[in-house]
């Protein structure tokens, strides 16, 4: 009898324990992530996956699943699988090309939540989120303008879409603020991932006299070109893009733009968990710490170039004559306070044909930024039609 009693107790504990565990698991939130590229590369999808892992660390109740290298044409199928088969509570679709399929899915599954990255369409149960780096490009531009010796700066660019034009323009505005004589030359490679094309474009820019390079492409190819030339005795200044790439060009990378999706993912998931989620359009910048200056997370500006930047003086309206190094620090601090304090796209801004696009006293709206399809003064050539 006594043994029986013990058994009952053990059984009760087991059942209770099992019950508890079931309660816990029903509180779990399941999030699915769809990436356009492989997570192992140095680009966009990699950065998102770093954000996903950060959210996993922060939120103990979170369960995630991701699928990489999903072609735009396959996203509808993958969304269906995540919703129907994997029973996700929320699906993050992290590529512009998934926009229409995400909209369709949000109507097909009205009780499901969706977050689409970088698009402009929302539905009742679908929001959008994006971390934009144009402010960092401006700061990079300040440094590029200060450092260039040939007054010729190159940009290796993926596709002529508003996002890239905005970044090229912000970079050019920074250059102009530091060095009005310098011109920006753009080379289009028509690929998000194309290390061979990027290398070729970088080499051709250097051959034409550019000594400073920025880029939008998912590999450190441009930086490797810069590093190789620098090692041979010809200093080429480069700016890292999206992921920390300074390790690929210790003597060449001055600074760069870094993205942190982690904070955004934590906020979205926490909101869903708390029931306060809305189908808003999240657009995060330096203020929300989604856009970070640097070629690595440890160093904002490569120590090797600090003296050179401190020696270069820039005349500004608000700070008078100030070194490039200090100006970058000051502007970065202003950006972190908010776009009201300082924004690169503050008029008067003319395009490279002389037409005023943003009049004096006004700022580019988000709509202006999202549809920007003109080169500002200081960029050579025309946007390919």
């Amino acid at each position: 009898m006594r043994i029986f009693g013990h058994l009952m107790v053990v059984l009760a504990i087991l059942l209770f324990g099992a019950g508890c565990e079931k309660d816990k698991s029903s509180e779990k939130l399941k999030a699915g992530f769809i990436y356009v590229g492989p997570v192992g590369d140095y680009g966009f999808s990699h950065a998102h996956d770093v954000g996903r892992k950060f959210a996993m660390e922060k939120l103990p109740w979170l369960e995630t699943t991701f699928i990489e290298s999903v072609a735009e044409s396959d996203s509808a199928r993958i969304i269906d699988r995540l919703v129907q088969e994997q029973k996700m509570d929320v699906v993050f679709t992290a590529s512009f090309g998934y926009m229409d399929d995400t909209v369709k899915a949000s109507k097909k599954y009205p009780n499901q939540k969706f977050m689409h990255c970088s698009g402009f369409k929302q539905t009742e149960n679908m929001g959008t989120y994006f971390a934009d780096l144009y402010q960092m490009y401006y700061l990079n531009g300040l440094m590029a303008g200060a450092l260039t010796k040939t007054d010729k700066i190159g940009y290796v660019a993926a596709f002529p879409i508003p996002e890239l034009i905005r970044h090229i323009d912000a970079f050019a505005l920074g250059i102009k603020a530091a060095n009005p004589k310098a011109k920006l030359h753009v080379r289009w490679i028509y690929a998000w991932y194309g290390p061979d094309k990027a290398k070729e474009a970088a080499e051709s820019l250097i051959a034409e006299g550019a000594d400073t390079l920025a880029f939008t492409e998912d590999t450190p190819a441009v930086i490797e070109v810069g590093q190789a030339h620098t090692e041979k005795g010809k200093q080429i200044y480069t700016f890292s893009h999206y992921s920390p790439m300074q390790a690929y060009g210790k003597d060449s990378v001055v600074s760069g733009q870094l993205v942190d999706w982690g904070g955004m993912y934590v906020k979205v998931l926490q909101d869903i968990k708390d029931g306060t989620w809305k189908n808003e359009d999240m657009w995060w910048l330096a203020e929300q710490k989604a856009a970070i200056l640097g070629g690595s997370f440890d160093e904002t500006i490569n120590a090797k170039f600090v003296d050179e930047l401190k020696a270069y003086k820039i005349n500004t309206k608000d700070f008078g004559s100030i070194s490039a190094f200090d100006l970058v620090e000051k502007r970065y601090a202003q950006m972190k306070e908010g776009v009201e304090v300082f924004d690169p796209f503050t008029g008067p801004i003319a395009d490279n044909k002389g037409k005023i696009r943003i009049p004096a006293g006004s700022k580019a709206s988000k709509g202006d930024l999202l549809s920007m399809m003109y080169y500002v003064d200081g960029v050579e050539g025309d946007i390919p039609k």
Binding site: T65, I67, A71, S73, R77, D80, Q84, E85, K385
Partner: protein
């Protein structure tokens, strides 16, 4: 010392042929199992997951059929080319050429024509586009002895670059915010799907009809006989008075044309606008090579092997999710199976005898 003697098999029985196929598949899966094991996954569970993810639920089944549509069309076309020993590696480019030609019709004439006119027109132009792209290497081979493996492969890249040029240049959509896509096809040019699925049944039906026609052509017509003779023995074909030039061009017009139909089917049925080459097709032109081989170059069997490989592609998502394996695993799987199928073919056609001899 071990002596290896290779001799041609005089005749191949159906039973031997089926057995070789099964053994090759099992050997391929075993090799793949080792790869799964090396990446830390239970091979049985992984292979089970692939097939349960694709055939084990209604959702999986429907998606498998959707993926099988282009594979069946292209696979049937490749089967006829490979029978004539014309190594067409260019189905990917032929698919894109069809997508380009068909989309042009859809975008330009679609707004003015009803569905029952525009849809057939798009498929006719899609066929023509693919056929044109397929005929180029045929002419190059017969007239200038250019190796078709090289020319068809290289024409893939040329077509992909042409498509790229069109979508970033003259065809870039006004409604796409500068992204390199064309505008959406008008509603009349979009293929309807079976409700609740992504199966664009018009293309599926075309695929099945194509398979039946090509099957009849290969086994029941004089032309099909010529194709087989060309494949078996070119000299004999010449002596028999077969017009080599004409036959080769027709073979490639068919092979390229059906790939082109698959291309416009994908655009009008799934994407609704032209986009990056890698997104228009996800490599169907290459996967279909394995589909044709697994089907033993028999158009009817292409339906089965098309479904089989579509299943592997769809099940590939499932192993990514449940086992955390990288997306490329599925391509490794397909490649491994192809290697073993071709090896099986070698052992089927040749008799290998091993002998121990002294000295």
């Amino acid at each position: 010392m071990l002596h290896i003697k290779v001799t041609d098999r005089e005749s191949i029985s159906n039973k031997r042929s089926v057995m070789t196929l099964i053994v090759s598949l099992i050997a391929g899966m075993t090799a793949m199992g080792l790869i799964f094991l090396m990446s830390g996954a239970n091979p049985f569970y992984a292979i089970f997951k692939i097939f349960s993810g694709s055939f084990g639920s209604r959702y999986g089944m429907m998606e498998t059929i959707t993926k099988a549509i282009p594979l069946i069309l292209i696979g049937a076309g490749l089967a006829i080319a490979y029978r004539a020993k014309f190594w067409n590696i260019g189905a990917e480019g032929q698919l894109l050429a069809g997508a380009i030609a068909g989309t042009w019709v859809g975008l330009n004439w679609g707004p003015h024509l009803p569905s029952y006119l525009i849809v057939p027109l798009m498929f006719i132009f899609g066929f023509a586009g693919g056929a044109f792209w397929g005929a180029i290497p045929a002419v190059l081979k017969i007239r200038y002895s250019v190796n078709e493996v090289i020319s068809t492969l290289m024409l893939n890249y040329i077509c992909a670059e042409i498509l790229m040029f069109l979508i970033v240049g003259p065809w870039k959509g006004k409604t796409k915010f500068g992204y390199p896509y064309t505008d959406d096809l008008p509603a009349s040019a979009i293929l309807s799907t079976i409700t609740g699925t992504r199966i664009h049944y018009v293309t599926l039906l075309l695929g099945i009809i194509t398979v039946i026609i090509l099957g009849i052509v290969i086994y029941k017509t004089r032309f099909g006989y010529e194709v087989r003779v060309i494949g078996e023995n070119t000299h004999a074909a010449r002596y028999a008075g077969i017009n080599f030039f004409k036959a080769t061009v027709i073979i490639m017009v068919i092979s390229g044309g059906v790939a082109g139909m698959a291309g416009i089917g994908e655009v009008a049925g799934l994407h609704h606008y032209l986009l990056y080459p890698g997104s228009v097709s996800s490599g169907y032109g290459f996967t279909a090579i394995i589909v044709a081989w697994l089907a033993k170059l028999n158009p009817f069997f292409v339906i089965l092997s098309g479904l089989f490989f579509a299943g592997i592609l769809v099940g590939g998502d499932a192993i990514q999710i449940s086992l955390g394996l990288p997306a490329a695993t599925v391509q490794v799987f397909n490649g491994t199976l192809l290697v073993f199928l071709i090896m099986g073919d070698y052992f089927l056609k040749n008799k290998i005898t091993l002998k121990w001899a002294k000295g």
